[in-house]
Symmetry: none
Subunit: 407 residues, 2 copies
């Protein structure tokens, strides 16, 4: 069964925006079992949008579109879909109310241009938007089931997962089951080498997705029934686990900080952080998750040395003697955060994220991190490669991995 | 003059690879002055490749294709191009030699499948590959000049810059100039409504890109000369500025935290942050930028109330009386951060990011923020919409906007 993706927006055809939606949708549709034959972008031009809709709806069973559902004059996807479907537009009272309610919660009156977001082709099924104002819709276009979603990635993904994925899975006849194993601490090439032969021995397809420094290993099994597919995927996943050892830290889509947070919460333990080079990223990754307050007490982002001394009690002489980026300072920061915030675990980072500030002895990428706990303080150091943001990210996750291992 | 991009490869339509070539080409073609109207991907299917070539060559003056020039059986782009051009293939002796020489440098013999890479449509102009074995070619397809390049990004980019960019620049007669204005504090619909009529009055094209809660307004002018285009874009941008007032905070591609950071640094002022609901996000956005240490001293992520008291000196009675999410606590946090870290500005956030923890009086999304400075402390509050991450992001940027305004 074939599917096509159409992304609408001049910001895409001008190359101003990396089209991550297209790749994400292609991967999701492929995983469901559809054969994606086209992944097209068109600019905000009425005639060209309609031509693309006609062409793709005429050649695919499923058409998934993103973009052009906003309130501005260059948002014209809904009108184009209605014209290709050969129907008019009608305003949906419930959607209008939803938009109005959202706007008024935001302390704003609804502008006429917002009302347009409640217009849909006659006969369309409306797809709720859990994350924003513009609902999506599903409509029959020529021979295709056509789905229209907003272009904002978070809204698009939520809508696809909530309202579209299960719709499409019904269309595909064979049963599939996928298990995602999450790994940390091995390079992609080594993960790949260690898993040589698993595909053939277990009759599964293995995919990799590096969200560096984490690597997801996706084990996909197809079979005549769901239970067979599940059993086959499970057997292969067990083999993957045994080959990768304790580098596998979880299953599913929870990141390493999420997994560490769940562990802490389940044991009734608390965490405090002290960050220099990571600049708040560690705290941000923890607090991004709902419920972080069950185990997270706080973080001191001690960027200036004076902040390390004043807020974490790191002795000024220690910094003067060893430098801010050093093992003794990392240890003192972890212990200071633990004590001052009264936490079970203190996690600290100090390093040189670059691009400036490196020296031959302490190059850009050097990070010291430490975990203080009732059992004492553990320290690690490494020179991470990559740009500023990669170094910060790799260091942060290495810190969470150290907590995971000491739990 | 219109252009289209076609990327060929099943790895793309399956979403196994982020299609960075498409974005890079779209941007390069746009910069040259071509209007890119389609950015399509097709899988390795002879019939579909030919259909895409016919369609895009029939509707654009320029067609740029990547992928499918390799030695394997699923590389069939050259054959498809020849069929659409209505000509046969012929082997090019010079290219064959080049491939053979490269192979022997790597100590390998030329396989028959490699020889295929020296075949081109009759009449094609061969484009040398400075970085790999497969040459590209240029051929007339229907009404279009069609360029074919390998899919390996480094090879593609080198070939485009060496052999194609200058070819295309000759085709474009008009000049373009774009000004990007950055706005904060107005919803997209209101920005759009306020700018009604500017396109027609000034002869420009206006585009919007919401990177919520920021909105970029792009003003594009075309004219016979560069200076005319610049002047026209400037006139229109001035009008946009006057209609949007102080919601415009800058030009170009720097985000609000970047712009506030540059302002602070230029005035020799320093910043300290105290965060509760934003959980480190404010510090993370500041320290993501190199050079943040010039003005950023640190942040206290005071998630637990005890951290607010201990690290920021917020009186426990104040929290008991008003609750942690309240104006007095936001003010005390901002003042505490400013004092404890010895900064010129203290910025604080306290709120309910959800999804849990809301009450009728203090709903999810309610955030209080405050800026303490030598001129006193300013406070704002609002109920932000969206999910946890959107609320945190919107609140953080509103905080930076308050600093901007007090600067």
């Amino acid at each position: 069964m074939t599917a096509a993706v159409l992304c609408i927006g001049t910001e895409l055809t001008r190359g101003e925006l990396q089209n991550s939606n297209a790749t994400w949708l292609a991967e999701s549709l492929t995983r469901i079992g559809l054969e994606v034959t086209a992944l097209d972008c068109v600019d905000d031009d009425r005639e060209r949008i309609e031509a693309a809709l006609r062409r793709l709806a005429g050649s695919s069973r499923v058409l998934v579109c993103t973009g052009g559902l906003g309130p501005t004059t260059d948002d014209m996807t809904t009108e184009c879909a209605a014209r290709v479907a050969g129907v008019g537009l009608e305003r949906d009272a419930a959607s209008l109310q939803h938009i109005e309610a959202l706007m008024s919660r935001f302390g704003r009156k609804m502008a006429p241009s917002n009302a347009k977001q409640a217009d849909f082709p006659v006969g369309a099924r409306i797809l709720p938007n859990p994350r924003g104002t513009a609902p999506g819709f599903c409509v029959r276009l020529l021979g295709a089931s056509a789905y229209f979603m907003p272009g904002v990635p978070a809204e698009m993904k939520a809508m696809f997962e909530t309202s579209i994925a299960s719709d499409l899975a019904v269309l595909v006849s064979d049963s599939r089951h996928q298990i995602v194993l999450r790994t940390f601490g091995l390079p992609e090439s080594e993960v790949n080498d260690r898993l040589a032969g698993v595909e053939a021995s277990f009759g599964v397809v293995i995919g990799y997705r590096a969200s560096l420094p984490e690597i997801e290993v996706k084990v996909l099994a197809k079979a005549a029934s769901t239970s067979e597919a599940e059993a086959c995927a499970r057997r292969a996943a067990d083999e993957v686990r045994s080959r990768l050892g304790d580098h596998v830290y979880g299953e599913g889509f929870g990141s390493l900080p999420e997994s560490v947070g769940a562990l802490l919460a389940s044991k009734g333990l608390t965490l405090a952080i002290a960050e220099s080079c990571t600049g708040g990223l560690a705290a941000e990754l923890v607090t991004r998750l709902p419920g972080a307050s069950r185990y997270f007490l706080g973080s001191v982002v001690a960027y200036a040395n004076q902040a390390k001394t004043q807020l974490l009690g790191v002795a000024a002489e220690l910094i003067a003697q060893h430098g801010a980026v050093s093992e003794p300072v990392a240890r003192a920061m972890a212990e200071g955060a633990r004590q001052r915030l009264g936490a079970d675990f203190g996690l600290a980072f100090t390093g040189i994220a670059g691009p400036d500030g490196g020296t031959p002895e302490k190059p850009v990428g050097l990070v010291h991190w430490a975990v203080a706990s009732p059992n004492g303080t553990e320290h690690r150091e490494r020179v991470f490669i990559g740009d500023r943001q990669s170094i910060r990210r790799r260091a942060t996750l290495a810190g969470f991995d150290l907590i995971r291992r000491s739990l």
